[in-house]
Structure formats: C-alpha cells, structure tokens
Amino acid sequence: MRAIKKTYNQKELGILKILEGVFDPEVPVLSILDLGIIRNINWVEEDKIAEITITPTYSGCPAMDVIAMNIRFVLLREGYTSIKINMELSPAWTTDWMTASGKDKLKAFGIAPPNYSSVGKNTSELFPEPKPVQCPLCNSMKTTMISEFGSTSCKSLYKCDDCKEPFDHFKCH
C-alpha cells in the first residue's frame, strides 16, 4: 500500500507538487510526501476547496499540528483560499509508506532508515529477536540498541560497535 491511493487530476497534481515543499519539523530532511502521511488530495471544483487528508505518525506526535499549519501556509501562499485538512486514523500509518528517496535522505542525514517492513510486526510475542540495524555512518551491521525510545516518538537510540558513534534509528512501525 502506498500513500497515494488514487489517480489525481491536473489540479490535484499541482497541489501535490506544492506539498513537496512541506517538511517534517522534527526530521527536516523529510517532506511529508516522503513520510507517507498524505492520504488523499481532493479538489472540489464547484466550491474551489482543496481537501487534504493526512494521517498522524504516532497518536501523540506534536509535529502533526505544525504540519497541518504548514500545509495551510504553503497553499495560501499559492493562492488557495479554501483549505480543508482532514485527519484520518485508519489504516494506521506505517513506515512501509515511506518513499525510497525518503529513506536515502534519512541515511544521508545520519539517521538509520526503517528498512524492514512492519507487516505482521504486532505480535504479542514479548521479546522478538531484534533485527540488525545498519550504522548510517560507517555501514557496519554491528550495532547495539541503547533505548527503544529516542528524541522523538518515531526514533530509537543505537550505537555502532565499530565506529563507536551513537545514532538514531527511525523505527520500523
């Protein structure tokens, strides 16, 4: 499943292009399209309304309010005056919706990208075997998790056993 779920018309593709300029305030290299949180774009021709449907990454992610505000800003700047932003919870956001270029940008930024699919990850198995995470700095696979919870909800803390650098891992969620 991808973030973009329908065929857009010309007008909607124009809006999509504008949204490429909205970035995650907490991970500023990722656009909201890279992140996969845009669920739908709908242009209502008769009323000239731009309807944008977004989904939160985590329930309590404080970036969501800022992102909604920034979507409004960029669209207003481009001359859209009626903007409706809907928040949709289901299906729940997953890092499987992150684009390949988004993952590359994360790695270049020094954050290990979510490289495993999160499908079937919600098992009630308490202590599943951890999957290896590659160091984004020296590419070593010998890394250790320091904490499952990092500086934001979407990241966990790791250290590299080879280059000894600590790094963030964008969790497979």
Partner: protein
Amino acid sequence: MAFTDYILHLADNALILGHRNSEWTGHGPILEQDIALSNISLDLIGQARNFYQYAAELSGENSTEDTLAFFRDAPQYKNCLLLEQENGDWGKTIMRQFLYSAYAYPLYTEAGKTNDTQLVGIAEKSLKEVTYHLRWSSEWVIRLAQGTEESAARMNKAIIELWKYTGDLLSVPAYSILSPEANNKISGEWNSTVKYVLSEAGISIPENVRMEMGGSDGKHTPHLGNLLQEMQFIQRTYPGVEW
C-alpha cells in the same frame, strides 16, 4: 450513552496514566529512561486526545476534548484505580505501567475487531504504540527484579502495593461495548502475560488480596482528586484560556 461512556473510560485511562508518567519528565533515574517514559506519556496522551475528540463528537452539547479533560470532577472520571495511584519510586511506576500495558494490548486488539470504524481506527493506532510499552515495561520489571537486592525488594513491594487494584482493572464496566467473549479473552491474556513476566522476574503474585473496586463507576481513591487539582488548575482558574 453506554457507547460514549465506554469511549470516555478508555480516554480517562490513557490520560490519567499519561499524566502520572509525565510527572517523571526531568526526574527519571537516567536520561534514556526519562526519555522513554516521557515518550510513553506522549503516546498515552495522544491516544487520550483521539478518544476525547470522538467522545465529544458523540455527546455533542458543545463539549470538546478540553472540556472533557478539564471540566469533569473525580466522580465523573471513569479510569481504573490502578492508573491514578501515585508514582512512588521508579520500580512502582514501572510495575504500574506493566500491569496496564499487559491489559491494554489485548484490549485494543479486541476493540480493533468491533464494527465501529472510529473506535477501530484509534485502537489499531494505539495497539502499535502499546506494543513498545508492553515490551519496555516487561523488560524493566525483569531487569529490576533480577538486579540488586535493593531493586528486587522494591519490585516485590510494588506488586504488593498495586495488586489490590488489578481486580478493578479487569472488571468489566456495565457500559462495556465489547462482547463477553472479548472481555474474557482480555482478562485471560492479561493473566498469562502477567504470570509469565512475573515468573521470569522471580516475583510472586500476592494471594488472598481484597480488591479495591469502582474506578469505572467514578468511585476513586483520593489520589485522583489530587491529580486533577494540579492537571486542571489553569483551565479552572482561567476557563478557556489558550496559549
């Protein structure tokens, strides 16, 4: 009405535990775990907001997520007694989190199978987050109980202090919208997770404990009143204030 009450019950559970955990922010024993518990608070408060927004929509009457959180008194709160208990030491906070997460996991699994689209959406989203909470708190229960003599003693004290609220945690409110089968599954799975983790930890489950009941019907311990007094202070003093 029953449906809205149930959504409020879920909202109150998440908010009260989220608020209690947030009291640790800046006071955690080590930086990483301070961050971990603050992240868990953020998830819980986010889940609470989703439930309150839904409850406000259902009840109408000009209610909003904020009026539901800040303008109801203790007897109107429907959270389980376990969640309003004071933090105590780090061990007690971890034990409380574990006993709740072991319950929230099967609860959201079952709520995700109901036929209410919005409840299913919130439950599916919450379940992903609760998966981390359950793993993290289980690991810490085991680590502390298997740690030093001091940490083991504190974990054993924590289970004795908290066990009397577990009957209330598992009791099914009269307004529950889940099927009796679903509720049985929740308590069954809670029992097996708790037994497994506590036995790994070497903590024995207290026996013949008289359970304190009534949280979901608004009969609370004095701790909830104290918590609300602090949490609601600004809105009660300056109603509707924004910043």
